[in-house]
């Protein structure tokens, strides 16, 4: 479903992503792990269309998407949950989630301004879908609160709900569990398992290897912009290079990264 072939991207002198290739099958949950600065988010931004690659090709659903804008890719079914809280201010939680319905709805300014039938019927469908997504992440009771007034953990879940409301075919989750409390993490893991059971293809960036081991079919390990290992969670966690890269990460933390 997703083929990344020899993709590179640098910032100034920094090779954030170097000649990375990976291939994700339909229905697969792929984890991307790696120390801070390994290039995981950069890879996501390349797939989501927020960055363009210096070289290499990304194929999605059998078609190259290198030239497609981010919103085009969203319309094609790629949804992203960004690292950190990325909620829309000045809107309620429900409205935030409703923005996610953009890809599968069509009506524009004229239909909205004149309240044409198309607006009414789509608006009803958007509301239902948003309600459903809010329930799935456990935010239904908070739906009419200002999104920015929610605690961080809920803002993160709100992003997941927004992504789900888009009815994605490929879901990119960038450290969705960070900032969540233990109970929330379990709930999120259950949700991801649920989505996997429903056949949704996912790319999951995560630091917590145990979290990943439980959810992912395969794991790709990035370090310094390159793929250093790939395999099942068991294979990867016993790989020497992976262990070394992670110890390097600890050092970086100690230096106040």
């Amino acid at each position: 479903m997703l083929d990344v072939e020899g993709v590179s991207r640098s910032f100034g002198g920094v090779y954030a992503v170097q000649n990375v290739s990976l291939s994700v099958a339909e229905g697969e949950v792929r984890a991307i792990i790696g120390p801070n600065g390994a290039g995981k988010s950069t890879l996501f931004n390349l797939v989501g269309g927020h960055l363009t690659a210096d070289s290499g090709t990304i194929t999605y659903s059998g078609r190259p998407i290198d030239g497609a804008s981010a919103h085009r890719r969203a319309h094609d079914g790629i949804a992203t949950v960004f690292q950190g809280a990325r909620i829309f201010r000045g809107m309620t939680a429900r409205e935030n989630v409703m923005v996610g319905a953009q890809p599968w709805t069509r009506h524009g300014f004229v239909a909205a301004a004149l309240r044409l039938p198309r607006h009414r019927s789509e608006e009803r469908a958007i509301r239902e879908q948003a309600e459903h997504a809010l329930e799935r992440v456990g935010l239904a009771d908070w739906a009419d609160r200002e999104a920015e007034s929610l605690p961080l953990g809920q803002q993160r879940r709100l992003q997941v709900a927004r992504a789900l409301c888009s009815q994605p075919r490929l879901l990119l989750l960038d450290e969705p569990a960070s900032g969540l409390r233990a109970g929330e993490r379990t709930a999120l893991a259950e949700l991801i398992e649920d989505l996997r059971a429903g056949g949704l293809t996912m790319l999951l960036i995560e630091h917590d290897v145990r979290f990943v081991a439980r959810l992912a079919d395969r794991v790709t390990v990035l370090d310094l912009g390159q793929v250093i290992a790939e395999g099942t969670p068991q294979e990867v966690t016993s790989d020497k290079r992976v262990i070394k890269a992670y110890i390097g990460d600890e050092d970086e933390h100690a230096r106040g990264h």
Partner: protein
């Protein structure tokens, strides 16, 4: 459907009783607005009409800056474009009603074209570009003979609707405020809709909005054109009412005035711009009367009107950063002991935090 996007962003769904009060208040305001022309004298009517045209432009400013987060310091340019479009067509014998309809279309269309290059800019750069456009436009109008040049375009006929000529200021007052109602209705419908949510989303983060499927560039151009169309409609009414247009009628100060009105009333609110337009107009009028009293120096009224914008803007930003209307709504809500204060709305946040869209969203 309007519950979550009222004039103030209510935290909880508005209960029915409160909604009924809101509807009643709205009806009362509408009736009073329509009755007012019957009791106002000629000079008061002029002020009343110009308040209405200012409100129309300011509603567009609130939509553009408050909801969509795009700055424009040149809205008076589109007010002028609307005015000249209507005026020019009418002077050359086009039925005035067609001229009035053409005014928002031409202003909106021009803004759409101008928007394609300049809406790539953000924040201060966008502000300067919109301002520069107004200055360029005024300079050109001053040079072009068939627009009347610096002397102005004269002899614009009266507006006539359905064969009835509007001779009285009263009639203009009604047309103007019906126009305000139309503009309010369109704005209300848009902000609580699919495209409206897209606009409000891109105000916070263009990257996140794009990734949710919002065509950010297109939406920004459309909202810019729409706000310009509101200004254009106001300009068209102005042209017929005043009957004379000159570049000097649309100074940069006028653009600032619209922004002050929007900010004072409450950016990113529906009714705030109307409140702002009324309050600012009344204050400026009062000071003008004071300034032209015998014994006052000749420059007094001019200085007063400049000073009042500056002072009001500073005072409101310091003490009521969300604007008058949200502050009043909070006061009312607290007086009735209901609910908590709404958290600081993004409405006032004109600054686009996400000024580096092309960078990864989480760049350190």
């Amino acid at each position: 459907m309007t519950a979550e996007v009222g004039t103030v962003r209510t935290v909880r769904r508005r209960p029915d009783a409160q909604r009924a009060v809101g509807l009643g208040l709205g009806a009362l305001v509408a009736v009073l607005t329509l009755l007012a022309p019957l009791v106002l004298d000629r000079s008061q009517l002029t002020v009343y009409i110009l308040t209405g045209t200012a409100a129309m432009v300011t509603i567009g400013v609130s939509l553009l800056m408050g909801y969509a987060g795009q700055v424009s310091l040149g809205q008076a340019a589109y007010y002028a474009v609307g005015g000249y479009t209507a005026g020019l067509l009418a002077v050359h014998g086009t039925p005035p009603l067609l001229g009035l309809l053409a005014a928002p279309l031409v202003a909106g269309g021009l803004a759409g074209l101008v928007g394609i290059p300049i809406l790539r800019l953000r924040g201060h750069y966008l502000a300067f570009a919109t301002l520069a456009f107004q200055l360029i436009l005024l300079a050109i109008v001053g040079q072009v003979d068939f627009l009347g040049g610096d002397i102005g375009l004269q002899g614009i006929p009266q507006l006539s609707l359905l064969g009835i000529q509007l001779m009285t200021a009263q009639a203009y007052a009604w047309v103007t405020w019906v126009g305000v109602a139309v503009v309010l209705l369109i704005t209300r419908n848009i902000i609580a809709s699919r495209p409206g949510r897209g606009l409000r989303a891109l105000a916070t983060s263009e990257t996140a909005a794009e990734s949710s499927g919002v065509p950010v560039t297109r939406y920004k151009i459309v909202v810019f054109a729409l706000s310009a169309a509101f200004a254009g409609l106001a300009g068209g009414i102005y042209a017929f009412f005043i009957g004379y247009l000159a570049p000097g009628s649309f100074p940069v100060l006028l653009s600032f005035q619209f922004i002050v009105m929007a900010v004072v009333g409450g950016l990113g609110t529906l009714w705030g711009p109307v409140v702002g337009a009324v309050v600012i107009t009344l204050i400026v009028q009062t000071l003008n009367d004071l300034g032209t009293r015998p014994g006052m120096p000749s420059y007094a009224s001019g200085v007063f009107s400049y000073a009042v914008y500056a002072i009001l803007l500073v005072v409101v930003l310091l003490f009521l950063p969300r604007g008058l209307l949200p502050a009043m709504a909070d006061l009312v809500r607290r007086a009735f002991g209901r609910g908590r204060r709404a958290p600081a709305a993004a409405g006032t946040a004109v600054t686009v935090d996400d000024s580096t869209t092309r960078q990864p969203p989480d760049s350190p």
